[in-house]
């Protein structure tokens, strides 16, 4: 019995911190899991709408894939700058970390601006939540739903990063705080990988 208890303790080896992460980081991970499930639900329902659709538009004729590729490049780059911000914050270089957070903010703002332009362009061509000039109405419904929900996450990320930048400049935020903000930002990038592949390319 004592041996089993000891084994369990060794296995978890964390006492009040069984995952080896602080409660703030752990809560961010649980948030990411639940939010990820929400996106999974959207993407699964999109998949079935796609399978059931009689005539799904050719994405290459609706979107400029080069434009979407640039958006992807910007978001991946912003993820790399965010990871660098976490790394430099861990090394105690607050000013460099702040520069990287600001670069990430710029990347996110460019991405969001490009998405807003893409929306404006499609709306000008007659696309609505329930109206699709290129075929199946589910196409535009899912386009606005998926990219809109993702865009809201990017916007939230920008707010979080702004707060992190301000607190970092004031010396309030620790490296852990930068890492937690970074986790959220990488999650936003991760979700885009799925949307980019499943909605724009497949």
């Amino acid at each position: 019995m004592a041996q089993t208890t000891q084994l369990t303790l060794d296995r978890w080896n964390g006492g009040t911190c069984p995952f080896g992460a602080g409660w703030r980081k752990l809560m961010m991970w649980w948030f990411i899991v639940t939010d990820g499930l929400l996106f999974a639900g959207f993407l699964v329902s999109y998949g079935y709408a796609r399978i059931l659709a009689i005539r799904w538009p050719d994405q290459a004729q609706v979107f400029s894939l080069k434009y979407i590729a640039v958006m992807t490049f910007v978001l991946i780059s912003s993820s790399a700058t965010m990871a660098s911000a976490v790394d430099t914050a861990r090394q105690g270089s607050r000013k460099t970390a702040l520069r990287f957070v600001l670069l990430t903010l710029a990347g996110g703002a460019i991405f969001l601006g490009m998405q807003a332009y893409e929306w404006t362009h499609l709306i000008a061509e007659g696309a609505r939540l329930n109206v699709n000039p290129w075929g199946d109405a589910a196409f535009t419904a899912y386009f606005f739903l998926l990219t809109g929900f993702h865009g809201t996450h990017v916007l939230t990320g920008l707010i979080v990063l702004t707060a992190t930048a301000v607190r970092l400049a004031q010396g309030i935020t620790t490296a852990d705080g930068v890492e937690i903000a970074g986790l959220y930002w990488h999650f936003v990038d991760l979700v885009w990988v799925f949307i980019f592949t499943l909605f724009y390319l497949l």
Binding site: W12, W29, L52, L190, F196
Partner: protein
């Protein structure tokens, strides 16, 4: 920090190859399998390198990854087909 920029280069290379595959004339099944494999690889790279799941304790990494994968699979394999069946029933037998 070097690791992150190597990761960035790999992610961009994957994206470029995916865009190339989109413009190439590959058989549909090959194209879909390739795209999904590339997508999951990119997601693993982001999760492992940028989100540090690679260096986190295995309990945390497994809880996150398995939790998402299992629930996603249940959604796709068990729940969504029923939703699609109801959709077909309504459009076939429902009020015209």
């Amino acid at each position: 920090m070097r690791l992150y920029w190597i990761t960035w280069t790999i992610l961009l290379a994957f994206t470029a190859v995916m865009l190339w595959a989109d413009s190439a004339t590959l058989p549909r099944t090959v194209f879909v399998v390739f795209m999904i494999a590339a997508m999951l690889t990119k997601a693993s790279i982001i999760g492992g390198a940028f989100m540090h799941l690679r260096t986190e304790r295995v309990e945390l990494a497994l809880t996150v990854v398995v939790g998402l994968l299992v629930t996603g699979t249940i959604l796709f394999v068990l729940i969504a087909p029923d939703a699609a069946r109801i959709h077909r029933m309504v459009s076939t037998y429902g009020p015209k």
